[in-house]
């Protein structure tokens, strides 16, 4: 009887997620906000609370978070991270300052603790590389000149997460005391050591792990990632950080293989993770934070847009490309939820979870719409400014003399 009800509940949730994934595809919006909604509906105080599968869903969500961060690390090698950092450091600093502060300031205005403010800063800081990669692909913008800049921003955020998450984990455990700060420092040092190690051993390690059998490769990588995550949790560093670092350390054929093999698993468990974050909230907690979420969303959409606009401009991209870069970066998603998820688990601030979820819901929906509309709006504005001031359009067309030729 117990098995039957577990299977029924689990099947019901997954079918629900499947229906939403189809709906999202039809509407052309990301799946994350819909998964959060299904979580709200089935969770505590929702229309149909789950009872028997709670434990399974909780572990599934933990695996989802680990796989999300592992795949994020897998996207880039340690070499790429450092090379990008060297070239695009000013962009990274601007991105951090402009987008971390709205969350921190909002937290301070709400009278939250320092830890809760740092969490909210992380939520507003990090763009959704999942949503953005899909947007670039769907809109056929991979070949565009602003695309390398958009990706650089995401890469630096990835690296920043490797530093930020251990600090956050330490603060969540130790509070903003000296002990907490000490743990944070130790965590950062270990992250730097691992990154330096990754530069040295990435090829050898990846060759050791690689196997031509998909089955063996899948089990090796999943097993090692979970083991490392478990070890990190044991030493109170946070499983998510360990997963991110393992991902960064892998490269070459092992990484290519892992990406292909683990993507479907990540999709399944990440969906459970998003739903789980929704489960842990009571829908009645949403309306009181709605106003704050809208204000914070509006402000941090503008600051992200400014980041993209400025960075693309610095690389010599024209106004339309700058508009696209800015608008594309607005979307927040999986990593904001991951950051909030860590905090919700340790219960630092009752309003934090609902606020973060509402915030991500808004920007995950608005981000893609903004990315789509950036082009026609920029066209309008350029046409209007052209009508007023005919010379400005001249700057947009490339000057043939700047095209250098070496014979």
């Amino acid at each position: 009887m117990h098995t039957a009800s577990v299977l029924l509940e689990l099947g019901g949730v997954i079918v629900g997620l499947a229906v939403l994934a189809r709906l999202a595809g039809r509407l052309g919006i990301p799946t994350i906000p819909l998964y959060l909604t299904v979580g709200l509906a089935f969770g505590r105080g929702g229309i149909l609370p789950l009872i028997t599968t709670e434990e399974f869903v909780e572990i599934g969500a933990e695996i989802g978070l680990i796989l999300l961060l592992f795949m994020l690390g897998l996207e880039y090698t340690a070499r790429e991270l450092l090379a990008t950092l060297r070239i695009q450091a000013p962009t990274g600093v601007l991105d951090f300052v402009l987008n971390f502060s709205p969350g921190v300031i909002a937290g301070l205005l709400l009278g939250w603790s320092l830890v809760a403010c740092v969490v909210l800063g992380g939520v507003t800081y990090v763009s959704s590389s999942g949503i953005i990669a899909k947007l670039l692909h769907d809109f056929g913008r991979i070949g565009n000149r602003e695309t390398p800049i958009i990706l650089s921003v995401l890469v630096i955020e990835d690296l920043a997460m490797a530093i930020y998450l251990p600090i956050l984990a330490a603060l969540l455990i130790g509070g903003s005391t000296l002990v907490g700060l000490g743990t944070a420092l130790a965590a950062i040092v270990s992250v730097i050591v691992v990154l330096a190690l990754a530069l040295k051993v990435d090829v050898r390690l990846s060759r050791m792990i690689f196997s031509h059998s998909d089955e063996a490769l899948l089990l090796t990588i999943l097993g090692l990632t979970l083991l490392m995550a478990g070890l990190a949790e044991l030493f109170q560093i946070s499983a998510a950080v360990a997963a991110l670092l393992v991902g960064i350390m892998l490269s070459g054929p092992a990484a290519e293989g892992a990406r292909a093999l683990l993507s479907p698993l990540r999709d399944l468990f990440a969906a459970i993770f998003f739903a789980f974050v929704g489960f842990s909230l009571d829908p009645s907690e949403i309306p009181p934070v709605l106003g704050t979420a809208i204000a914070l969303g509006a402000i941090s959409a503008v600051t992200k847009y400014a980041t993209g606009w400025w960075s693309a401009g610095k690389s010599g991209v024209g106004p339309k490309g700058r508009a696209r870069a800015g608008a594309t970066l607005i979307a927040r998603g999986e990593f904001s939820i991951a950051v909030a998820g860590l905090a919700v688990a340790s219960d630092v601030e009752p309003d934090l979870g609902p606020l973060a979820v509402t915030y991500v819901f808004l920007l995950a929906v608005i981000g893609p719409i903004a990315a789509r509309l950036a082009e026609p709006i920029a066209d309008r504005l350029l046409a209007a400014s052209h009508a007023r001031n005919p010379e400005t359009i001249e700057e947009i067309t490339p000057n043939p003399e700047t095209i250098e030729e070496i014979t």
């Binding site: 913008r141 991979i142 990706l151 030729e405 014979t407």
Partner: protein, 161 residues
Amino acid sequence: MTEISEVKLPGLGVRYEFTTQEGKRVGLVSHRSGYKELYFADPDDRDAFKRVLGLSDKDARTLAELLGGSRVTEELAELQHQIEGLAIDWLPLRDDSPYVGHTIGDARIRSRTGVSVVAVLRGDQAIPAPGPELGLQQGDYLVVVGTTRGIEGVVELLHRG
């Protein structure tokens, strides 16, 4: 030769761009998997590139052959014409070669065959004028310069040790 601008696309591959003699701008995205995409610039927006063609690794090689070989091939062919008796070749380092995981110095190529290794091609990357301390990896190509007989010796040496 036309200047090619090259930018890394972290997580994806590399993006190249150049302008043709007719003034058309062409973009090429080379994915890490070897898949390549060809783009043309939108005439109304200098930063927007429209995808025109996707090429598998094999397709790209076919197209390159039809278009007259790569730049490196052409330059090497030209050099070979200029010096009588000089042979240039690139040799794959096979998985079963005893020098996978060893350095160039370990193979003692020059002292045994008189042939110089002028570059190592690794994936999309070329390592010019490698020192003896450079480690060799499976899948590397060694660009070697010497006599025909010497190069035959290198082939033998890389294979047997």
